[in-house]
């Protein structure tokens, strides 16, 4: 098979530009076949070989334009991160860190400080900081949701519902002792966000599942342990063990999922097209 220097250089450039596509070899093979076929046709009609190569590349399109087209996923999303989705990824990472810190605070409080807790002074201050951290975590999660929507190219009502539920979880988090409130709103918002992600086929589904199910799993655990009356009852009639385990499960599971989603939003991990097997 004859080789064409200009076209081979172009294909190398495309290979570099599309290195993030899992179906890279298929894409480049298809471009190669097209460009070589064009050159052969042009040469057969009397064009000089180099001129034919130039014409073929000119007709095929500017590499930057093509890279932008190929950066769209098949459902209209962005296989490559943009400045916004990178920022949304950062918000997801911030949210993951805050929600994990809130979970850790709650566990430390329940295990070590509950018996000595007083609303005056340091106890009140740390509780307020933790509560604000939880609210900021949900605030950051709303930005992450917009990033997920953009990157997956999802339109319609689902992302809006997810965004609204996470938005409502922000004020609910300000009364963080009311676990059923913020966990239910945040959990439903995260679940819908994760369904958007899973349906797109993009990103790591394990992280999407952890994100989507984390808070609801925590709430279910909390409700079950409370119903089963596990552990002692505190002065407010609550079951500290149920809160400890429920918040622990919910916060840490969600944080792991969010961290994975945040990394994906910032990364160049693509692509939604599986490579096609090479014929025997």
């Amino acid at each position: 098979m004859a080789r064409y220097a200009l076209i081979d250089g172009y294909l190398d450039a495309m290979r570099d530009g599309l290195h993030w596509r899992r179906d890279l070899d298929d894409l480049v093979s298809e471009m190669e076949d097209h460009l070589y076929s064009t050159v052969e046709t042009l040469c057969a009609t009397g064009n000089d070989r180099t001129v034919a190569e130039r014409k073929a590349l000119d007709r095929f399109g500017d590499p930057k334009t093509l890279a932008a087209v190929y950066a769209s996923t098949t459902n209209g999303g962005l296989a490559m991160p943009t400045q916004f989705t990178r920022r949304a990824g950062t918000f997801a990472l911030i949210s993951a860190a805050l929600i994990a810190a809130f979970g850790a605070y709650w566990i430390i409080w329940m295990v070590f400080l509950d018996s000595q807790f007083e609303w005056e002074g340091a106890g009140s201050t740390t509780y307020t900081i933790a509560t604000v951290a939880l609210a900021v975590a949900f605030f950051s999660m709303t930005f992450a949701t917009v990033g997920i929507t953009q990157r997956t190219g999802t339109t319609g009502v689902m992302p809006i519902i997810s965004f609204v539920l996470l938005g409502l979880a922000i004020p609910a988090a300000m009364v963080s002792w009311f676990i059923a409130g913020w966990m239910l709103l945040g959990g439903l918002g995260a679940l819908i966000g994760s369904i958007v992600l899973l349906r797109s086929g993009l990103g790591n589904p394990a992280f999407a599942l952890l994100y989507g199910l984390g808070l609801l799993a925590g709430l279910t655990t909390f409700t079950l342990l409370t119903t089963m009356e596990v552990g002692r009852v505190d002065e407010w009639g609550d079951y500290p063990v149920a809160a400890l385990v429920g918040i622990g499960v919910g916060c840490f599971t969600t944080a792991i999922g969010l961290a994975g989603i945040g990394r994906w939003l910032r990364s160049e991990n693509p692509a939604d097209i599986e490579p096609t097997p090479i014929p025997a």
Partner: protein, 112 residues
């Protein structure tokens, strides 16, 4: 005519071209150019993502062969694609009929 004018209609054109039988990408684009008499100024490379999208949507299937030492992907319309082509063709005819009626100043569908 700018390739931008094709936006939203490229899928219909590709399905129509493939309704005559399986073709590889170069042949599809060549046929598009021939039938339109070179009317669309479209970077040829941008047609491939559209073919991939149609395949992902189940409207086309593709298979690889080796021709003259090169890997070649050939696209074929599926039954679902044939159905979609019929629907899109009908929608297009309704649309263009209505537009032409407006341009001619007569009430659609009572076009002469």
């Amino acid at each position: 005519m700018s390739g931008q004018a094709l936006k939203g209609h490229l899928d219909l054109l590709l399905l129509a071209i493939l309704s005559d039988g399986a073709k590889h990408g170069y042949a599809v684009i060549d046929e598009l150019r021939r039938r339109s008499d070179d009317a669309f100024d479209l970077p040829e490379g941008t047609v491939y993502p559209a073919l991939h999208r149609l395949e992902k949507g189940g409207l086309l299937t593709s298979e690889w062969t080796v021709v003259q030492g090169r890997r070649r992907r050939t696209y074929r319309l599926t039954d679902q694609g044939r159905g979609a082509l019929g629907e899109q063709r009908q929608s297009w005819q309704l649309f263009t009929g209505a537009v032409q009626s407006v341009l001619r100043g007569v009430t659609w569908p009572d076009t002469p």
